[in-house]
């Protein structure tokens, strides 16, 4: 995809040309997504901002040794995941170094009602429906729908197969579609009622 190519090219300019401008653009392009991802692990946006900043500091410091990185997006997500889990382990002193206990509040997404495709009410219902899904399913849905990751990228990041990604995403899409369908049929009922009255 075009966006991926752009990120790839920014990353290469950072690594091979020490281009600080490209580095800043890379940060702007990815920081919000990475902060949300980190915040879901450490349960704090404030902490997540620092973690993602540290990830980018490391990127700058190690930029000339990153020729082995073939997918910058995955590299940055994995770095963010690792640093977030480490931070959590340090803070809580006991280790649960996995993504099983993520804070889904930080990840929840919904259609933007301002686009006019769905009402604010339906958007809320969709958000609620997503929250009723299993943790991993919600995470996968966000990473693909909102963060624009590919099946393969999600698979590497979460250590699962692309088949699992496909299956989990289908579950999420089905659940959300049912909410929209219900709303559409409601609308039809409403319009009939209006005609009747």
């Amino acid at each position: 995809m075009g966006k991926d190519k752009q990120i790839q090219s920014l990353f290469q300019r950072v690594c091979y040309e020490n281009d600080i401008q490209a580095y800043n653009e890379l940060y702007i392009a990815l920081c919000a997504r990475l902060i949300h991802f980190s915040a879901s692990i450490v349960s704090s946006f404030h902490l997540a901002e620092e973690i993602v900043s540290d990830v980018f500091i490391t990127l700058w410091q190690k930029r000339n040794d990153l020729s082995h990185v073939d997918n910058p997006v995955v590299y940055l997500y994995v770095s963010t995941k690792n640093l977030s889990l480490n931070t959590l382990a340090q803070q809580k002193k006991h280790q649960h170094r996995s993504l099983d206990h993520i804070n889904l509040d930080m990840l929840s997404i919904a259609p933007d009602a301002e686009n006019g495709m769905v009402s604010a009410e339906v958007a809320q219902k969709i958000e609620k429906a997503i929250r009723s899904l299993p943790t991993r399913c919600q995470l996968i849905f966000r990473l693909i729908k909102h963060d624009g990751l590919s099946y393969r990228e999600v698979a590497i990041l979460l250590n699962i197969s692309t088949k699992t990604v496909d299956a989990q995403l289908t579950i999420a899409v089905k659940k959300i579609s049912q909410v929209i369908r219900f709303d559409l049929s409601n609308e039809i009922v409403q319009s009939f009622l209006r005609i009747d009255s």
Binding site: D19, Q21, I57, M106, D112, M117, L169
Partner: protein, 351 residues
């Protein structure tokens, strides 16, 4: 059944994982199911985070905050010249350079050219005859310092002013691009003006010429004795300036030796003799044995002399990486043009 399939296809389309055949199949399903077209539209929209959806302005603020933290991190870490990092980088060289001696002196200096304003604390990186080192400057630029060299640089570069460093010896620079603050390398013979690029400067006080070799980007070389004399270099070009030419006063009537532009010498693949040392390689192309001997002296920190002066003028080409001094000498000796021996003091004699 069709509905299950529909959700899978919608999911794949959203993820950008839909094949051509699947796209056709999806079109078919959409025709049969008018509501599905609406659902598809909803998924095609941009969704937003329910919590903390960062606006453009907020992202800009995040970047500013991050830049401050980055600056602090670099300032804390960088002026301490790596004693561990170079070890890794130069590990191929470990056999010879068993101990890496990096001398660092920090002090308060002024740049000659600067009007006396706030003093900029200066740091200095010095390599001994047998060691090389690497450093990251406060702006993120990388410098590899060859043996027997000295680099002066400020502990931090001032905003909106050229970044100035002074070099005696040889260094390879990979300069961070910054249009507002051009990068200047000062030597006794010339100075080099850079925007963002990688290049090599060789200006040992003991040698009769000083050389700038450009690998990438663009630089301008300004002669110290005549600031109107500016030479622009393009990638893979080098400029050799006879030291006398630059030192000579303009009052002299004698024709001064002119700076010479030439191509970098490609020995093999992408190895240029001028910059091979950065990759820990010793490379020379069609070079007189006396010059090769001088390189070996510097590389291995030993002394070489000639019993038979005729041998000085034989030419050699070669690239060496991990070889010991003995291996290098034996390889050259294999051409049967000379023999060598080591005396009791460790000095090498060529005859």
């Amino acid at each position: 059944m069709d509905q299950e399939n529909l959700y899978t296809l919608l999911a794949r389309e959203m993820a950008g994982e839909l094949s051509k055949e699947e796209a056709t199949a999806l079109q078919q399903l959409l025709l049969q199911d008018p509501n599905a077209a609406h659902i598809r539209e909803v998924f095609a929209q941009n969704w937003k985070s329910a919590k903390n959806s960062y606006s453009h302005a907020q992202v800009e603020q995040l970047l500013e905050k991050h830049q401050l933290r980055l600056q602090q991190a670099i300032e804390v870490r960088e002026p301490v010249p790596a004693t561990t990092a170079p070890r890794k980088i130069w590990k191929l060289y470990a056999g010879i350079a068993a101990s890496i001696l990096v001398l660092v002196t920090m002090g308060m200096y002024f740049f000659h050219s600067k009007p006396t304003k706030a003093p900029v604390p200066l740091a200095q990186l010095v390599t001994s005859k047998r060691t090389r080192s690497q450093i990251i400057l406060p702006d993120g630029s990388r410098v590899w310092l060859n043996a027997g060299s000295k680099l002066n640089y400020p502990e931090h570069f001032e905003p909106h002013k050229p970044r100035e460093v002074t070099l005696e010896g040889e260094a390879f620079f990979v300069v961070t691009g910054d249009a507002e603050r051009p990068f200047h390398v000062h030597t006794k013979t010339f100075h080099v003006h850079v925007l963002g690029t990688s290049f090599n400067v060789r200006a040992y006080p003991t040698e009769d010429s000083a050389v700038t070799s450009l690998v990438q980007g663009a630089v301008e070389v300004v002669m110290n004795n005549d600031s109107r004399q500016v030479v622009a270099l393009r990638p893979n070009e080098k400029l050799t300036v006879p030291v006398n030419a630059a030192m000579q006063q303009t009052t002299s009537a004698a024709p001064t030796p002119v700076p010479q532009k030439s191509k970098l010498a490609l020995v093999q693949d992408s190895i240029f003799t001028e910059t091979a040392w950065v990759q820990n390689k010793l490379a020379f192309k069609h070079l007189k044995l006396e010059k090769v001997a001088a390189m070996l002296e510097q590389w291995y920190g030993i002394e070489i002399d000639f019993r038979d002066d005729n041998k000085r003028n034989f030419y050699f080409t070669g690239v060496f990486e991990r070889e010991s001094l003995e291996q290098v000498l034996n390889a050259l000796e294999n051409t049967r043009s000379f023999t060598w021996e080591k005396d009791s003091t460790g000095k090498i004699w060529i005859k």
